[in-house]
């Protein structure tokens, strides 16, 4: 049982790290601000979800009321991040449009 949980935790953490890595690399590699937001806004959110899920599972190893509540609290973080992160992304994009930043398009490059 413990091995199962542990391996699950490892999987969660590693996949979270992969998502985070994708986000970070995306921020560097993408050509313009709008496309940078795609990895930054979403892969990071997913990364948070994966890592926190892993940690919450790890906490559940000692089964008690306190640890269940603790895991719930961690999932609460995920919930709020899911609520707020897309909104933040949306508001940044909106700011960019209002500020008059033209999006990068393929034709411009060639």
């Amino acid at each position: 049982m413990e091995l199962l949980i542990n391996s699950f935790v490892v999987i969660c953490l590693v996949s979270g790290l992969v998502f985070f890595a994708g986000g970070s690399v995306g921020i560097i590699r993408m050509p313009d601000f709008y496309s940078r937001l795609h990895p930054a806004g979403k892969l990071d959110t997913l990364g948070i979800m994966a890592v926190v899920l892993g940690l919450a599972l790890f906490e559940l190893k000692q089964w008690s009321l306190a640890s269940v509540l603790l895991s719930l609290k961690m999932m609460l973080i995920v919930f709020f991040v899911f609520l707020s992160s897309p909104t933040a992304t949306h508001s940044i994009v909106d700011a960019g449009i209002r500020a008059g930043l033209a999006p990068w398009t393929k034709t411009k490059r060639s």
Binding site: F80, L83, S84, T87, H90, S91, D94, R98
Partner: protein
């Protein structure tokens, strides 16, 4: 100037570096700092005050006098912002929007005002339409943030946090209200007078608790004297006293943070802002 600044900076830096060679190693458990006062705080404070969070017990009990003035500093900052920025004269330039048609009326240099209600809406000079998504999400988040802030204030004894942090979070929820709707709505909802009173009330709770202890025959802020009027033993009553103090700090900090934000964002006019 650059050279001069560099000279001063390198002089100070050199002096500090020279002295740091005498320091005990970083994290050394036998350094004087962790041998002289802190063992007493760590080992006795749970028995003496009944609060597991040592930082809270030192902050709000052993050194509560410092903390009172810390609150006073925050209070000062609020007063200072009020004193410096607040302008009571309303602008004579006003913009109204006719809600059904979206026509914008601009009143220049006139004291005339339109009835604001379902037909006309007072608006900022650099008004932007509401963003539906941001507004709705903030509307949902704000009560949760506020409850969380109150939770932080109430659980200062057991987990990190306490009056100051909770107050700041509560204040930033009010700031969020002002950002997501607009400043005018937030100011109408939370009146300036109320904020002013809350500032005073918070500090007054703190100081008043201390004075109450003096009336009960102890020194200033000696919470154990509160046992005379509260149904608890002298150790537990210290924890209760700390809770009361934290609530006072929280109220004051919340009000001051909101007031500073409103004053800075609207440059003292309390009508339009970020």
């Amino acid at each position: 100037m650059k050279f001069f600044g560099f000279l001063i900076v390198s002089l100070c830096g050199g002096l500090l570096l020279y002295a740091s060679s005498e320091f005990p190693d970083w994290g050394d458990p036998d350094s004087p700092a962790s041998r002289h006062l802190s063992p007493h705080y760590i080992e006795e404070s749970l028995a003496e005050t009944g609060v597991p969070n040592l930082v809270t017990s030192v902050l709000a009990d052993y050194r509560s006098f410092d903390t009172m003035f810390e609150t006073a500093v925050i209070f000062c900052a609020g007063l200072a912002c009020l004193l410096l920025l607040r302008k009571y004269k309303p602008e004579t330039d006003r913009y109204y929007r006719h809600i059904p048609t979206g026509v914008i009326l601009h009143f220049k240099n006139s004291r005339k005002s339109l009835p604001v209600g379902s037909e006309f809406e007072l608006m900022d000079a650099d008004w932007v339409p509401y963003d539906l998504v941001i507004k709705t999400v903030c509307r949902i988040l704000i009560p949760f943030i506020q409850l969380y802030a109150l939770y932080v204030v109430a659980h200062g004894d057991f987990s990190p946090g306490g009056g100051f942090q909770g107050g700041v979070i509560f204040g930033s929820s009010l700031i969020l209200l002002a950002i997501s709707y607009n400043l005018r709505t937030a100011v109408q909802r939370i009146k300036e007078r109320v904020l002013g009173f809350l500032c005073v009330l918070g500090v007054l709770i703190y100081a008043g608790l201390g004075v109450l202890c003096m009336f009960l025959g102890g020194e200033f802020l000696d919470y154990s004297r509160l046992a005379a009027i509260l149904p608890a033993d002298p150790v537990h009553v210290r924890a209760l006293g700390m809770l009361g103090v934290e609530i006072g700090v929280g109220i004051a900090v919340m009000a001051v943070m909101a007031a500073i934000y409103v004053n800075i964002a609207s440059a003292g006019r309390h009508d339009e802002g970020l």
